[in-house]
Symmetry: C2
Subunit: 353 residues, 2 copies
DNA sequence: CTGTTAGCGCGTTCAT
DNA sequence: ATGAACGCGCTAACAG
């Protein structure tokens, strides 16, 4: 039924071993023989059996990419960048590698499950993107899993994620804390004092680091952070919308809102507009990530730009062994403050009466 | 070095076959035996060898998803939806299946390459998303490929893509033509007569169908389409920005711009604003797809909503054989006109002098 | 319900 | 430069 390597060998009048050699191009083969084999491959429409190949060679051409939410451009951009770098020479049978994108939905269990699945497939490499969940038990389980993966020959790279000590995993970490710090400093410099903060989900490193930066900026300014002005929620528009309304209820004199990311910020903007508030005249709004649509928001969103594309591409190259790992296996990637129209000087009329 | 099924069998004092049976859960196994095996698996930290399993069973747990651009939420949403439906019972070893997301970048060659790679992996199913390239040679090659995939047991589903006759592939097609028609009808009903059209890349079915709908609406209104008012370009913001400026140059009295999709529409909006034109007072703008950010544009974008999530999920279920294919193997999915703030009655002052 | 026996299709030693 | 033989780890018949 299905044509195998042996069929090709028979048609080309050579041994199966020779066919395997021309297909993988790892051993010297006479030009005329190669010709003949390739012709037979073509005539028979032969397609290599990946599983058999992987079994015999004890490695596959699969590269795993773990993301929280593939529908979110934040992850889509990174996944695309990783994927664009994993092709090329070095792999089996022509250097084509397949990206296996796994949607964890932010669930720790699914994260572990997918890693097991990838281990099962003998993935050549695994790239984990996005923040980690901070539960100690989960962190331990992940650490053990990553170590095992590394030991069995799968290269592991963390992209936009804190390092996993003692696992051998390479980490490209985003400086979320520094970004959060600079963003709030910017607001403080404009004169804002009553700043609401819409944070991401609890127990996630990204959420905590960005929030830490925010608080560090406040306290450096001698402002005691009011816990009532910090709300947690998922990284989606709805969360931003609801939280903005709630913040306004808690402090009607708010002059600025900082959101966990751009998507949340857009939701917050919608809420403010629906309440008849102008941005930034009445309330300034800032986001994080600088996703493509943020530039087209009206007014354009002040945010912290993360080099998602660049970082993803680099993670992909490191995963393929085509670029050296950073010294110590850890590199910190900086975000860049993008000041745009959504933040401005606070209205002196607000905040007083 | 690596622990195999035989090791587990030895530890659990059973035969390898029994271990395989409890792992796959396809045959009845005594509860106590199962216990013992599972304990051994746990103690040994055993992980099934996917390639070996796939080789022996002649099928894998991989499901391919072809997308044009994973960084584009249009595809991210569909890919996520497909992925959310491919798990569950029925697969090998616990019913977990892995989504292999392949970024074609819209390139016909890469599309074919990825299909070969998926065929090589003996993928359980393949879902192709997005429009197709209209080159006859490529269509023929794709047809042959899809047929072969189907013959070798891989279920093929097209999602948001025109049917591929005689390939056995199931198609969930978006009614791009109807959506384009209704969108332009809406504009005509508002009183617009000079409408610019920023189309997608040439030679793509999506581009052609949406454009056909637009033209059909125009001619039904007795308006002869001015070819100068149609521009082609990629599905990105930049294309929308540049094209809007060019359209304005070609016809300064334009009262409306229809874009190939929402991303392009946002770029067009930016260009219009930069030229000092108000939306919709001076120029109305409409998009297509209704991606999440379109609702938060200012003004909110009038567009045609495509049920990406629903369609993707359905494609996933059909691919897994968990839902019957539509009659004839083809279903047409309608888009819904979403009238929002970006379109309005044209300014009588424009278009005249 | 469980063990035994054969391969699945390919890569890779060894020879030649 | 090429061929022969073996084994990768697992599943799928068959027995029992």
């Amino acid at each position: 039924m299905t044509v195998t390597l042996a069929d090709v060998a028979a048609r080309a009048q050579v041994s199966p071993a020779t066919v395997s050699r021309v297909l993988n191009g790892n051993y010297p083969v006479a030009a005329t023989t190669r010709e003949r084999v390739l012709r037979a491959v073509d005539e028979l429409d032969y397609v290599l059996n990946g599983p058999a190949s992987a079994l015999a060679a004890a490695t596959s051409d699969l590269v795993g990419i773990l993301v929280n939410d593939i529908a979110d451009p934040f992850f889509g951009i990174m996944a695309g960048a990783v994927q664009s770098e994993i092709g090329g020479p070095g792999g089996r049978a022509g250097g084509e590698r397949l990206a296996v994108v796994c949607n964890t939905g932010g669930s720790p269990e699914r994260e572990l499950t997918y890693l097991t699945l990838l281990q099962r497939q003998r993935a050549a490499a695994v790239v984990l993107t996005g923040g980690a969940v901070e539960d100690p038990a989960h962190a331990a389980a992940m650490g053990a899993k990553l170590r095992r993966l590394g030991e069995s020959g799968t290269r592991v790279v963390l992209c936009g994620r804190p390092p996993a000590p003692d696992t051998g995993a390479i980490a490209l970490t985003f400086d979320n804390r520094g970004g959060g710090l600079r963003l709030t400093q910017h607001l403080l410099a404009l004169g804002h004092r009553r700043i609401g903060y819409i944070a991401g989900p609890e127990e996630r490193t990204t959420t905590r680091h960005r929030l830490e930066g925010h608080r560090a900026a406040l306290s450096a300014h001698g402002i005691t952070d009011d816990p009532h002005l910090t709300l947690h929620g998922p990284y989606d528009r709805r969360s931003g919308y609801d939280a903005a309304l709630e913040l306004l209820r808690r402090d009607p004199d708010l002059t600025a809102v900082v959101a966990a990311n751009d998507t949340v910020a857009l939701g917050a903007c919608a809420a403010l507009r629906d309440r008849g508030l102008r941005i930034p005249a009445d309330v300034s709004v800032a986001g994080f990530d600088d996703l493509p649509f943020s530039m087209d928001a009206v007014p354009a969103l002040t945010t912290v730009r993360l080099p998602l594309q660049t970082a993803g591409a680099r993670a992909g190259r490191i995963a393929m062994g085509r670029e050296d790992a950073p010294p110590g296996g850890i590199a910190t990637v900086q975000g860049e403050l993008m000041v745009r129209g959504s933040t401005g000087v606070p209205d002196p009329g607000r905040g007083g009466a």
